[in-house]
């Protein structure tokens, strides 16, 4: 098989370039990385075409985002694009944390069975993009425009006008809506003059991908103060095709130019993995991590997603994964607005839901980075105390923070939620705002049974007349509500319906909009209206 990194995406002169007036597009996505592609796939799944602009001529260089979370896999599965990721990627759930040479903590990211997707799949970002591009091409609804770059954006009466530079001349298109998924150095953010303040972590991290055959358990290994990087930390992940990711904390004063020299990196690699190992380099990079976000992600007709909206340190794998969740949160809403089925201000809920999610990610990644690279004497003393106590005190083991791994966001306080119909603290894991929990269902899975639109589900040991009552709900709602009866034991237990039945309304993105202990068509209709901003 050709290495997908060798693929060149030629520029294809679009018919738009020869139009006298700017061609009109309902949706233009700027950026064909994982987030832009997830958005394009999301629209395609709903029958909505999109144009995707990217100045690249090939896949992203370097492995970059590699740990794809269960939630990301669930989203990609709904978009019909997960199988290739599962087949090619490396599945894992166990993390081990070492102090010096001693194992101090093991964690399991998926301690229960009965979920379709694994906790994590490691796959180099360029491979994620490759499979996402193939999936996009299969839909026939994604117009990928490579080697094109947005040079200007002007608001118009009912949309935006984008100026685009290409190798064969410039052209303009108009877009009702623009999704800015153009990464950490977002052009659109710069063109719109938007502030992107936050903090830079002083410490530097040397990251490399090496190609090496080594038989070891597929686990995330993190070291504090290992012999091969005294007083600092290191991280090891396995990726597809015998490619391994190694991270070394090298300190704020480290000499960039010296650190990235292959002969120097090779010394570090051999010190970590053994003097005799046989390997080649695929990628070497040195980073200072940042922690910052836009004040708002929605700016009129332009919606920012992924690194263009928020940037964070990688400990916890929250960057790429939260970007895919951004796209998933946005697409169903924008699709309804485009179809005239929801008011435009539904898009304000993108800010209301994804900004708190970003803040939670920034909080967690900042805490992890401060624990890994303490900035003050007090911080260092406290951190070292945790590590010292971890050997003997279970509570201290839980405090060891080498990264709190990405999970699905719960949109507590979202204006789209209906007040919880369960009593307080009853099955809080499935409260309104939470992402649907997977469970075995028939010969398949619950998440796969949720419709593209809204779903009204009745969890009950015996379904009886519930199906007819749920089917009747759609007569009273502006959008159809797909009925679902669930009587499986594990599913009922997960949704708090082991001893009493429960009715749940799921949104198109799989998040829970409402729940009660009974089926009320009026309540369901009201919950749906609320969930679409009416």
């Amino acid at each position: 098989m050709t290495d997908p990194r060798q693929l060149v995406f030629p520029h294809r002169r679009s018919a738009d370039q020869d139009r006298l007036q700017p061609a009109h597009h309902p949706v233009v996505i700027v950026g064909a990385g994982p987030v832009g592609l997830a958005a394009a796939l999301g629209f395609a799944a709903r029958g909505q075409a999109s144009a995707v602009i990217d100045r690249k001529a090939s896949l992203s260089d370097g492995s970059r985002a590699i740990c794809w979370s269960k939630r990301t896999l669930e989203i990609m599965d709904r978009l019909g694009a997960a199988q290739a990721l599962l087949d090619k990627g490396v599945t894992w759930r166990t993390g081990k944390v070492f102090l010096d040479t001693r194992l101090i903590y093991t964690f399991d990211l998926l301690p229960e069975s009965g979920h379709r997707m694994p906790a994590f799949v490691n796959l180099q970002q360029y491979l994620f993009e490759h499979y996402a591009i193939e999936a996009a091409q299969r839909t026939g609804l994604v117009d990928l425009r490579w080697q094109e770059e947005v040079t200007a954006i002007e608001p118009t009466a009912d949309g935006t006008l984008l100026s685009i530079a290409t190798p064969v001349g410039a052209y303009r298109i108009s877009a009702d809506w623009v999704i800015a998924a153009d990464g950490a150095r977002s052009t659109l953010r710069r063109l719109m003059g938007l502030g992107f303040e936050g903090r830079v972590f002083a410490d530097q991290f040397l990251i490399c991908d090496i190609n090496m055959k080594m038989d070891r358990p597929v686990e995330r290994w993190f070291w504090f103060d290992p012999p091969f990087n005294r007083g600092r930390s290191a991280l090891l992940h396995r990726q597809a095709d015998d490619v391994w990711r190694l991270d070394f904390q090298v300190g704020p004063e480290a000499d960039r130019d010296a650190e990235v020299k292959p002969e120097n990196v090779a010394k570090r690699v051999r010190a970590m993995l053994g003097e005799e190992i046989d390997f080649t380099f695929e990628w070497i990079s040195l980073y200072r991590f940042q922690s910052r976000r836009l004040k708002r992600f929605r700016h009129g007709r332009v919606l920012f997603a992924g690194d263009a909206a928020h940037q964070m340190s990688p400990f916890g794998a929250r960057g790429g994964n939260s970007g895919v969740q951004d796209a998933d949160n946005l697409v169903w809403k924008l699709d309804l607005v485009l179809r005239g089925l929801a008011p435009e201000h539904l898009l304000d809920s993108y800010d209301a839901e994804r900004i708190p999610a970003a803040d939670e990610n920034l909080l967690n990644t900042t805490r992890s980075t401060d624990f890994i690279a303490p900035k003050s004497a007090a911080s260092r003393v406290l951190r070292d105390s945790v590590l010292a106590l971890a050997a003997s005190e279970p509570f201290a083991r839980r405090l060891v923070n080498s990264g709190r791994l990405s999970v699905a966001a719960t949109y507590d306080g979202s204006p789209l939620n209906t007040a919880d119909g369960f009593t307080a603290d009853d099955c809080s894991a499935a409260r309104p705002g939470a992402a649907a929990l997977d469970a075995p269902l028939g010969n398949g899975w619950l998440l796969a049974a949720l419709g593209r639109g809204f779903t009204g589900a009745w969890f009950c040991a015996e379904g009886s007349d519930a199906l007819a009552r749920l089917k009747a709900v759609s007569a009273h709602t502006t959008l159809p509500v797909e009925p679902l009866i669930v009587s499986e034991t594990t599913a009922c237990a997960r949704y708090g319906a082991a001893s009493a039945p429960a009715c749940y309304v799921f949104r198109p993105d799989g998040h829970i909009a409402a729940r009660w202990r009974h089926i009320s068509p009026d309540a369901i209709a009201a919950a749906l209206a609320r969930a679409i901003g009416r």
């Binding site: 003393v381 406290l382 070292d384 105390s385 945790v386 010292a388 106590l389 005190e393 509570f395 405090l399």
Partner: protein, 65 residues
């Protein structure tokens, strides 16, 4: 339940002496490290972040901060 500000053990002098004795033969750096570990152990035992926050505020105030 708020932070206890009244005496909470019968032999306060004994308690004080026990804390002090734990620092025997420790350098200044080691003493700081001991205090940090003690804070973590006791804070977890207390089991309430609210009470620990109150204690932290009281401690900072006593520094004039």
């Amino acid at each position: 339940m708020p932070l206890m500000k009244q005496p909470h053990v019968a032999d306060l002098d004994g308690l004080y002496a026990a804390i002090l004795e734990a620092h025997t033969d420790l350098s200044e750096t080691e003493s700081a490290a001991l205090n940090a570990r003690l804070v973590l152990l006791l804070a977890n035992h207390i089991g309430s972040t609210d009470i620990v926050r109150e204690a932290l505020t009281t401690a900072r105030k006593s520094l004039g901060k």
